[in-house]
């Protein structure tokens, strides 16, 4: 077996040193009622070549986004990732190291995480960030949990245009009782109705921006109302590339920001692994969950980095910890930070603009297409298209013609019929004019022929 270095002679020598006749003596604490070495209905070991064939065979059954014009978003976005990113994250020292518990031999990880925290703070317009969470949805749930700790209030108001699966995650992870969470999925985000729901038991209001349907919002006034009632504003960002052209959540008055950071450095991966970002104001830092890296000095006065504020965490506080999170998304945060370092301010803003313009070009083509209607007044790189037929049927037919056309809203809305003709379509720098032309041409065929 190629991954096991011990030879049979080694094993025999080692058994002799230990004083064993057979290896099963080491398992003597296993109760007699439990059978050792049971039969498994599984094949035996395979060569590298055989494994490669099996897995490639399975992979080839999927239609991948590099093969066809591609317009899916809804919380996971396809962008070009520079080759440098994947090269660096595969370096042994990053790929095969553990959480940086021994700072003297982990400065590589600790320094990039410190840089990552700086980048996340800057792009979200907040004071501090942690070293990442699992993904945007768990970040959002942790943000709600944090707001409840800070305000010592129980209720949560969620904007109707939050990603429905994010709302499900918040409900699952946070709610002790269903009534404490106010969420009804809908296309209409009406600030005055949100404001009317805030009473003295409400800990926070959760707003996604750009929202699930792609619309963009200015949140300053909403934030003022929320703050005047002693609650916190949590802003959720699904597409971080939008932060290159939009006012930052911090500038708009957010108290906690939760993002999905996959768009930078991380491929689609059928939904994971991704990377949750989480940032907040200085005054709330001791309520922030997850790993945090801080700067300090060594015994000879040199600057260095360590994991810090560990008194919030499970391995110290046990049942009194701010969260049970242990592992984060280390390598995904490395991919994120390398991609963003390559872009820099200029590249990031340009990329943001290219994404927005790709969507505008698509919008311009679609708005004159008979029977189709774009529902948005504003958007960044994704909008909601009303189709003349069911969106679920539309995407299957388009896929049959070689276009991955978008995400039917009904798929995420528990098949609610009122959304059946709505399709979310995302654009990015990967989309060419010919992709858009293919979409238009085939969409007409699919709907009218």
């Amino acid at each position: 077996m190629r991954y096991l270095p011990l030879t049979n002679e080694d094993r025999e020598d080692m058994r002799r040193v230990i004083g064993l006749e057979n290896v099963n003596q080491l398992f003597s604490n296993v109760p007699n009622s439990v059978s050792l070495d049971p039969t498994f209905n599984l094949p035996n070991h395979k060569t590298e070549m055989e494994v490669g064939r099996i897995l490639s065979g399975i992979a080839n059954k999927n239609m991948n986004s590099n093969q066809v014009p591609f317009f899916l978003g809804a919380g996971a976005y396809k962008h070009h990732i520079p080759a440098t990113v994947d090269h660096i994250i595969q370096r042994s020292e990053f790929l095969t190291s553990y959480t940086p518990y021994q700072p003297e031999i982990s400065q590589g990880t600790l320094q990039y995480l410190f840089e990552f925290q700086t980048q996340v703070s800057l792009m979200t317009g907040m004071d501090v960030s942690n070293a990442s969470m699992y993904d945007g949805s768990t970040s959002s749930a942790e943000a709600v949990s944090m707001a409840k700790r800070i305000t010592k209030r129980n209720k949560v108001v969620i904007s109707p245009t939050l990603h429905p699966q994010y709302a499900e995650v918040i409900k699952t992870l946070i709610s002790a009782d269903e009534d404490s969470i106010d969420y009804k999925f809908s296309e209409n985000l009406d600030f005055s109705s949100l404001i009317s729901k805030i009473d003295e038991d409400v800990s926070c209001v959760v707003v996604q921006n750009p929202d699930f349907f792609g619309s963009c919002h200015s949140l300053e006034e909403l934030a003022d109302h929320i703050h005047s009632k002693g609650a916190l504003l949590i802003v959720v960002v699904n597409e971080v590339i939008s932060l290159g052209m939009m006012k930052s959540p911090g500038d708009m008055g957010a108290d906690i920001v939760a993002c999905e950071g996959q768009s930078l450095g991380n491929p689609l991966n059928f939904g994971g692994p991704y990377i949750g970002l989480m940032s907040t104001k200085d005054k709330y830092v001791r309520q922030l969950p997850g790993r945090i890296v801080g700067e300090t000095n060594d015994m000879s006065g040199e600057k260095g980095f360590v994991l810090t504020l560990a008194t919030r965490e499970q391995h110290i506080r046990r049942e009194k910890a701010t969260s049970n999170i242990c592992t984060n998304s280390g390598l995904c945060s490395l991919a994120f930070t390398i991609h963003l370092s390559l872009l820099g301010e200029r590249g990031f803003k340009k990329l943001s603009k290219l994404n927005h313009e790709a969507a505008i070009k698509f919008y311009d083509k679609l708005k004159n297409l008979e029977g189709f209607k774009v529902r948005n007044k504003s958007f960044f790189n994704e909008f909601t298209l009303e189709l003349p037929i069911s969106a679920a049927i539309f995407v299957e037919k388009m896929a049959g013609k070689g276009v991955l056309a978008g995400v039917p809203v009904s798929r995420l809305a528990n098949q609610d019929d009122s959304f059946s003709n709505l399709l979310l379509v995302a654009s990015s720098e990967i989309n060419s004019d010919s992709d858009r032309e293919d979409f238009i041409k085939l969409a007409k065929e699919v709907c009218y022929e």
């Binding site: 991954y3 270095p5 011990l6 040193v17 230990i18 290896v23 003596q25 109760p31 439990v34 070495d37 049971p38 498994f40 094949p43 070991h45 897995l55 992979a59 080839n60 059954k61 999927n62 239609m63 986004s65 396809k78 520079p82 440098t84 595969q90 020292e93 990053f94 790929l95 190291s97 021994q102 400065q107 792009m123 501090v128 070293a131 499900e168 995650v169 919002h217 200015s218 052209m245 939009m246 939904g271 994971g272 801080g294 000095n297 980095f305 504020l309 391995h315 046990r318 049942e319 910890a321 969260s323 592992t327 984060n328 280390g330 370092s341 390559l342 820099g344 290219l354 313009e357 896929a399």
Partner: protein, 496 residues
């Protein structure tokens, strides 16, 4: 001033080497179309530093050289399972048919992805002998949460929500009590006995009408198999509770026995431990959970279903088989990239190889134990499983503490073992060699530790000063926590 030392380059922060005008990507020029963002548009400066491509490569390569890694040497962190990460697994995860597919593309276009999830699910069920599995948890801690939520839901379903007490041994990972408390359970600690195992009498004594269940790590964090586990599961079930097993140490028994035979109700499996997906400096992990029949129907959404060779994904909470589900743990369907790596590992080993994995892991640990027990002090009598726990008795009267000993190992070229955990042993040192170390590698490690112990009496100062051969010396963690500096900031200009 040049502060480089040989191969170790002083590398300044990204924000000190880069600036807002530099970039390492070539993008086409925008056409300056009029924006559609409404009043949320902004073009103010963010402050993101950029680097050209060569500068980027150099920055991160220099940083990487300040890290220890399993590829470079033995990494004996107990309870963390730092084993070799086969590169085939990386290659497989990067097949475009896996990495370049969207979680919400039409079901007919991702049959291979669902087949892969179904395949790894069936392997995990067979290896554990359990009835069901959910693949969505994103790490071990989220797996724990998942298992305990299923238990909470099962109690609710039986109208037994008054059962609030979860028993957790004092040797447990911190995530166990944190998870139970997060869900509103009341955590009660049960004692370990002198053999490092759960004190069955103390366990029994703590069961009352409010008993919800018990969380047990097996093999436990002392590196020992909980020999009373079947008795515990029987009493747990008789008392109306559930047995959660923390599967962090599944690598010690994989292919050797089926945890289902122990009577457990839920167990998470860290794919990044047992099935060697890379730790990546702290994630991403993956923590699927296997369930007994008693908990199966409470598992979270989504589910993969196979109907006559056609795969389907049941996502909505009112979908088939999900009417009793406790809900959704995260967006989409779990850590696909990790599933592919773990599947590649499992196929490579097969049933025979996996059994050899646990046997060699346990053999290696016991070889270390037998070769070190006259220098270090094993915390417990008898054989250990895949890891060996030492107390700090051997440091008595030397003035050297566990932390100093660990730091001295760094100067000898080793990553230290896990220290000060589990909490039940004073100055604990927990060593897990894993099965991917050769005898030669273990012998070198053994002689290094023996030499260090022999040096304790005559040269305790060098332990206190260690490490010295590292890019940086011991860091002041108190200062970091008292005056937190958690990001780079431009130095304010001081008016002269």
């Amino acid at each position: 001033m040049n502060s480089n030392r040989g191969l170790d380059h002083d590398e300044k922060l990204l924000f000190e080497v880069g600036d807002v005008n530099r970039t390492g990507v070539d993008l086409s020029e925008p056409e300056n179309l009029s924006q559609m963002l409404g009043d949320s548009f902004s073009d103010s400066e963010i402050g993101l530093a950029g680097l050209s491509e060569p500068e980027t490569v150099r920055h991160y390569v220099r940083l990487s050289r300040k890290n220890y890694s399993i590829d470079a040497g033995l990494y004996p962190l107990g309870s963390c399972t730092m084993k070799h990460n086969p590169r085939l697994n990386e290659k497989m995860a990067r097949l475009e048919g896996f990495s370049e597919i969207h979680p919400l593309q039409p079901i007919s276009t991702c049959q291979g992805a669902l087949e892969l999830i179904d395949l790894i699910s069936s392997w995990l069920k067979e290896l554990t002998g359990m009835a069901a599995v959910t693949m969505t948890p994103k790490a071990g801690a989220q797996g724990e949460l998942c298992g305990m939520m299923a238990i909470k839901q099962a109690l609710l379903n039986k109208n037994e929500s008054h059962r609030k007490i979860v028993l957790v041994p004092d040797s447990a990972h911190g995530t166990n009590p944190a998870t139970a408390a997060f869900l509103g359970f009341e955590v009660k600690t049960i004692k370990s006995n002198r053999e490092g195992l759960i004190d069955f009498d103390d366990f029994k004594k703590n069961i009352d009408k409010n008993f919800a269940g018990v969380m047990i790590t097996n093999p436990n964090t002392c590196g020992l198999f909980e020999t009373d586990i079947v008795k515990i599961s029987e009493l747990t079930h008789k008392s109306g509770g559930y047995l959660y097993c923390d599967g962090a140490n599944f690598n010690a028994v994989v292919g050797k026995l089926k945890p289902g035979d122990l009577g457990i109700d839920a167990m998470h499996i860290n794919l990044h431990k047992t099935f060697s997906t890379p730790h990546g400096g702290g994630g991403p992990g993956s923590g699927p959970v296997v369930f007994s029949e008693r908990l199966e129907k409470f598992c979270p959404t989504p589910l993969v279903e196979n109907d006559k060779g056609e795969y389907d994904l049941i996502e909505s909470l009112d979908g088939k088989g999900l009417s009793n589900s406790f809900g959704r743990l995260n967006v989409f369907h779990g850590q696909m990239g990790m599933f592919v790596r773990a599947m590649s590992y499992m196929l490579s080993h097969g049933a025979d190889g996996l059994r050899q994995v646990s046997e060699d892991a346990v053999l290696n640990a016991n070889y270390l134990r037998a070769s070190l027990n006259d220098r270090l002090t094993p915390a417990f009598e008898g054989y250990c499983m895949h890891e060996i726990l030492f107390s700090d008795d051997f440091l008595k009267d030397t003035g050297v503490e566990t932390l100093d000993f660990a730091k001295a190992m760094i100067d000898e070229g080793y990553h230290p073992m896990t220290i000060y955990f589990p909490l039940v042993i004073h100055g604990a040192l927990l060593v897990e060699p894993t099965e991917t170390e050769s005898k030669q590698s273990l012998d070198h490690f053994i002689s290094t530790l023996r030499d260090l112990v022999d040096r304790l009496k005559e040269d305790s100062d060098s332990f206190k000063a260690a490490p010295v051969f590292t890019p940086i010396r011991r860091l002041d963690e108190t200062q970091a926590a008292r005056k937190p500096i958690l990001r780079w900031k431009e130095e304010p200009l001081i008016a002269v």
